[in-house]
Symmetry: C2
Subunit: 177 residues, 2 copies
């Protein structure tokens, strides 16, 4: 069990109890299309590359966005296991999370109106090695699935506002405003 | 406009029309917790690192999972603009997508039952430069938002099955089965 993590979590909880407004956090991702499909994404000072394979006109410079979404889900599950294992005192030695998701690409391409563009089905398989009895790992799983942020993104609707602002050189610009 | 992308998309559509079963695609992400919070995620042959900052006990080896989720959304929006600009014949020179998401971390930590663990609110701001009149970019946005896979993950519930399999060294293992 990592030294000090329980203390960090307890201190965070105490600080929030004293002033709940500090629990509000904002996260950001700045994306630019730099190739046919290639996208540079900056999060904090880190870069994530996204792309499509050559068969779709891309250059395979990074994973596909839907794969990145599954990566977010699997990594969030793993970290939420870490956090809740500390909170519940359930030890483990190793944890892996395998995520699979099925998409019918007719939805993305607008070839079938009844087909949603995203995942029709997703499975998350967690494997844990450790010294606790089986039922404690089931208890841990139940706590994790109630508190995992990215699982919540997948399973419950998130209010999303989209907007576009166009810097157009069209001569029709003045006419259409 | 990228040479050949329209042809690739038209050929894909024709192939699917001839045999819709080829539109079924499966995607995967294999995750392993390799540090306190650090997770190695493998998608195809590519590695994504996820982590938390030192203030939460992590080592900042990569972005947080919730940031990776926003990266998936922004990059998916950008690529869906590319695909639908080809399908609709709406040219653009440059596109950026800025995504922001708000989380009350009381939800993750189980400090307030009424607070969801994931994003309470997300905004997607697209900026496009190009030669088309304003209303054509609005038309493009409407098509993109109906067909973007990761936007669908955020805005509509995805059926997700989670399971855990424990390899436990506990002596109680036999008793509890």
């Amino acid at each position: 069990m990592p030294t000090g993590l329980k203390t960090i979590l307890d201190n965070t909880a105490s600080a929030i109890a004293g002033n709940p407004s500090i629990a509000a956090a904002r996260f950001a991702a700045a994306c630019e299309l730099v190739g046919v499909h290639e996208v540079d994404v900056r999060v904090n000072n880190q870069l994530i590359k996204a792309d499509q394979p050559p068969a779709l006109g891309g250059s395979d410079a990074g994973p596909k966005p839907v794969e990145i979404a599954l990566a977010a889900l699997g990594s969030c599950q793993a970290m939420t296991y870490r956090i809740w294992s500390e909170k519940l005192g359930i030890r483990f030695d190793k944890i892996t999370v395998d995520v699979h998701g099925d998409i019918d690409v007719q939805g993305i391409l607008g070839l079938a109106n009844a087909v949603r563009p995203g995942f029709g089905d997703v499975s998350v398989r967690v494997r844990v090695n450790g010294p606790e009895p089986q039922e404690r790992y089931e208890e841990l799983k139940n706590a994790v699935d109630r508190h995992c942020p990215v699982l919540d993104v997948f399973t419950a609707p998130v209010p999303v506002t989209t907007s576009i602002s166009a810097n157009t050189t069209s001569e029709q610009q003045g006419v259409t405003q």
